[in-house]
């Protein structure tokens, strides 16, 4: 078991990768064996992630050096700097890893029935496992170029999955927009990595954080990295591609793509808090994030009230909720240079933002899965054609209600816990942020009630007489996420003390990250 924990970080990345290439071979023999292989590999990866989380909670940051004789030999003999690729898992990375493992398992179970009538399912599962690999790689790596490679892996497989159903025209358009935006963002990330390498000859985030001085090319690199990662994470005014791409994908893939957006947001936080750390103009960058976060919250929800397509409507709400996380962590970044303000409300603001990442990752894929369930049975995403579906689809209705109450921040559900953390800490920074947050919450509830009435309420329509409940594997996938919501609802303090406060402390404390890589005091 100990060797499993020592090598767990590379196993978590390698097992989906190897399984992805085994899927076409196994799929040639039998479909049931292929489905079982996908679920078993993702369940084993989830087990490894939770075992690693327990180990990190006890022993601190987990390091793994690829290609060395022993996993913590970060600087090879005869070298002065770390040259190998190092996977470094601290509190924030393992929180993202836990989210990704749960959501990808639920998405794979959901896909078992949702795409059961499509051709080319072997390729679908291969691409899904490749996307899982890309996501875990982005969250666990401590090397900038490795981050770029895994970002591209996740983007390419995500775009191919969006355009998977080639018989519709809008899926191709959504996939094309996604891959063009991803390619441009990734190339700008590579340009910024080139700028940083040209000055310091280092690619490792910990080693760079030790030697970085905030020169003019560093400022340009910060702007490029920040804006490229925030474009991939759906920040207004760069959000224009987000609803187009996420509304046309198969519903399980949309759930996973939202977590990929979270991973890009995590990469932006790594750049701001750990790579640049105390050297950047914390108030300026913090206020940039806060202003764009406010815009995201407000524009996201007002556009969402307006929509008639159910998946597009939920994508705009994803943009709006991501705005809450930008505001929370932006406030924490703005007060980073001031230790007493950090202790008063900065750490709570970052904790609120990170807690909202966890909660959003539980209820947003659940809502996308209910949208996919509606599409599966009625054949349309258009809300103007639906009505009275609660009579036949009872489980979907109940799970949709849980998701709605959660996203709108209604007590006692988990959305309320993270929103109250954000509201109370951000209010001390500037009151307008809390007021905007509360207005956006009200509009969120209003828009979800509107969609609930038009899709589920009302009398039974004659064209939906033969509609039944969705297949069992889709219900199981949604119930997994709803169980996560209920668990976080009943035990908020347990979750916050064991996962969220370590994550916030890992972001604020740059020194621990550097020490784990270089082994010396920064």
């Amino acid at each position: 078991m100990d060797t499993l924990i020592t090598h767990s970080s590379i196993l978590i990345i390698a097992i989906p990768l190897v399984t992805a290439f085994l899927i076409p071979l196994v799929g040639m023999t039998s479909k049931k064996a292929r489905n079982a292989l996908v679920i078993v590999s993702l369940a084993f990866v989830a087990f490894l992630v939770f075992a690693l989380a327990k180990d990190i909670a006890i022993n601190g940051i987990h390091i793994y050096t690829l290609g060395a004789t022993s996993p913590d030999l970060t600087t090879p003999t005869g070298f002065m700097v770390p040259v190998r690729i190092i996977l470094e898992v601290d509190g924030m990375s393992i929180l993202m890893g836990i989210i990704w493992s749960i959501v990808s398992l639920a998405a794979a179970i959901f896909s078992l029935s949702h795409i059961a009538s499509e051709t080319g399912q072997n390729r679908f599962y291969t691409l899904l496992l490749l996307m899982v690999t890309g996501g875990f790689g982005m969250m666990f790596t401590s090397d900038l170029f490795n981050l770029f490679v895994f970002l591209e892996i996740a983007s390419i497989s995500g775009a191919a999955l969006i355009a998977f159903r080639t018989k519709f025209a809008d899926t191709q358009e959504g996939g094309f927009k996604y891959i063009v935006v991803s390619a441009i963002a990734s190339l700008m990330v590579l340009f910024a990595i080139g700028l940083l390498y040209a000055q310091y000859n280092l690619l490792n985030i910990g080693a760079l954080a030790q030697v970085i001085q905030y020169t003019t090319p560093d400022k340009i690199a910060l702007a490029l990295l920040l804006i490229a990662f925030t474009m991939k994470a759906g920040m207004v005014p760069l959000h224009l591609w987000f609803p187009d791409a996420y509304s046309v994908a198969p519903a399980s893939i949309t759930g996973m793509l939202v977590i990929t957006s979270h991973a890009c947001m995590y990469a932006a936080f790594r750049v701001c808090f750990t790579l640049y750390g105390g050297m950047l103009d914390a108030p300026v960058v913090g206020w940039i994030l806060i202003v764009f976060g406010l815009l995201s919250m407000f524009v996201g929800v007002t556009m969402a009230v307006f929509q008639k397509d159910v998946m597009r409507f939920m994508s705009y709400h994803a943009i709006s909720q991501l705005g809450y996380m930008w505001v929370g962590v932006g406030v924490g970044l703005a007060v980073l240079g001031n230790p007493e303000l950090v202790a008063t409300y900065g750490r709570d603001a970052i904790s609120g933002g990170v807690f909202h990442i966890l909660n959003h990752a539980m209820y947003k894929p659940l809502l996308f899965f209910t949208g996919g369930a509606l599409f599966h049975r009625t054949g349309t995403r258009d809300l103007t054609k639906m009505g009275g579906l609660a009579h036949k689809m009872k489980w979907t209705t109940i799970l949709y209600i849980i998701g709605t109450l959660s996203i709108a921040g209604i007590p006692p559900l988990n959305g309320f816990s993270s929103k109250i953390l954000i509201y109370e800490s951000v209010y001390q920074f500037h009151p307008i942020l809390t007021i905007t947050g509360i207005i956006v919450s009200i509009l969120t509830l209003a828009s979800f009630t509107k969609a609930f009435h038009s899709a589920f309420m009302g009398a039974e329509l004659p064209e939906y007489k033969e509609v039944k409940e969705v297949p069992r594997s889709m219900i199981i996938a949604m119930v997994i996420l709803a169980a996560g919501i209920v668990f976080i609802t009943l035990f908020p303090s347990l979750i916050v003390n064991w996962t969220i406060h370590p994550a916030a402390d890992a972001l604020i404390d740059q020194g621990a990250y550097i020490t784990a890589v270089t082994g010396a005091v920064p």
Binding site: I184, G387, E424
Partner: protein, 116 residues
């Protein structure tokens, strides 16, 4: 206690909220028990009554999503005209926004570095 969440000002305990909710539901149940106990199924008592007007069929009387919240959209029509203008759907505009925002933020960071 694992259920209490402490923020800077106050604390939040979901168990207390759930207990309060259950108590209120019990009170509501007792109120409902004192109401009319019998009704006759399959007579005019269970059908929709629209002041004596003819009830249209289900497809006609279900309010569709484009018509809900009409007052809200009518009041904010200028805001919606403005905010819908960038949402064109043309991919060239998406990249233009990216270049513009990157340039603006790079200029802000450079000026902030000079002003220090």
């Amino acid at each position: 206690m694992t259920s209490i969440l402490e923020s800077g000002y106050a604390f939040w305990n979901p168990i207390i909220w759930i207990i309060a909710f259950v108590v209120v539901m019990v009170v509501v149940y007792f109120f409902r028990r004192r109401g009319q106990k019998t009704y006759k199924k399959d007579t005019a008592q269970t059908q929709i009554f629209l002041c004596g007007e003819e009830v249209p069929e289900a497809g006609q009387r279900h309010i569709r999503v484009g018509n809900i919240y009409w007052g809200f959209f009518e009041t904010l029509k200028e805001y919606y005209n403005q905010v819908l203008r960038p949402h064109t759907g043309i991919i060239n505009d998406y990249v233009l926004w990216f270049v513009a925002v990157t340039a603006v933020s790079a200029i802000i960071l450079l000026i902030a570095g000079l002003a220090k």
